[in-house]
């Protein structure tokens, strides 16, 4: 549960993740977090729930590579990533990326790049459950 990178069914605590992130250094002056949450409405459809499928093994590996790439590409102190894969109702937490750095600019850039790149490189697929049935989400290019 204290791994910097996790894929899990259960919910997570932002406070707890930020606390662990900040424990790594007192040089940290900025922490930027991105939290993705399940919406009740998407492209004209009412969403009752969403569900994620993962390519287990590869997904966690890709997430670890993503953390490493973020640390190498940006001048940041530490990065934590948690992604849930259970069935989630609107309002539930899906994904958290937390980035710590000495100065804020780097933390913003790294956090934003990290979620963009997660969407492109981590084998996870979202299914939306609506009153009319289920459908797999097709990402926009």
């Amino acid at each position: 549960m204290s791994d910097e990178v996790r894929i899990q069914e259960e919910d997570f605590s932002i406070e707890e993740e930020v606390r662990r992130l900040r424990a790594s250094s007192k040089r940290i002056g900025a922490v930027v977090t991105f939290l993705g949450t399940a919406r009740d409405f998407s492209e004209g459809k009412t969403i009752e729930a969403i569900e994620f499928e993962q390519y287990a093994g590869m997904a966690l590996k890709a997430l670890k590579q993503l953390r490493q790439a973020t640390l190498e590409r940006f001048d940041v102190v530490d990065v934590r990533i948690v992604h849930r894969v259970s069935t989630m109702k609107p309002g539930e937490q899906i994904v958290l990326i937390a980035v710590a750095s000495e100065h804020r600019k780097e933390a913003f850039e790294a956090c934003s790049w990290c979620i963009d790149t997660l969407k492109e490189t981590v084998p996870l697929w979202k299914k939306e459950i609506t009153p009319e049935g289920e459908s797999w989400v097709v990402p926009h290019p």
């Binding site: 993705g36 993962q54 390519y55 994904v95 969407k119 084998p123 996870l124 797999w136 097709v138």
Partner: protein
């Protein structure tokens, strides 16, 4: 024997999460695996596809050998 995995809408369309297939050809690639999958599963989607061989991202030209696990994946939609 090659183990082929389908995810997301591809598993829905094929009606299965995995298939096994034999590649006779020497120097086979992901492209050959995809051809064989298209022969076996009628109406397999044309749309953009992503591939992995043994849990590492790959492309159509990546080599595939006996015992490999080949994943055929729709575009990712995590986050």
């Amino acid at each position: 024997m090659i183990r082929v995995l389908f995810f997301g809408m591809l598993a829905t369309k094929t009606g299965t999460r995995e298939a096994e297939l034999e590649l006779k050809k020497q120097g086979a690639t992901v492209s050959d695996v995809l051809d064989e999958v298209r022969r076996r599963f009628d109406g397999f989607p044309d749309g953009p596809l992503l591939f992995a061989v043994n849990e590492e991202q790959a492309d159509l030209s990546s080599p595939v050998k006996d015992g490999d696990e080949v994943a055929i994946m729709p575009p990712f939609s995590g986050g």
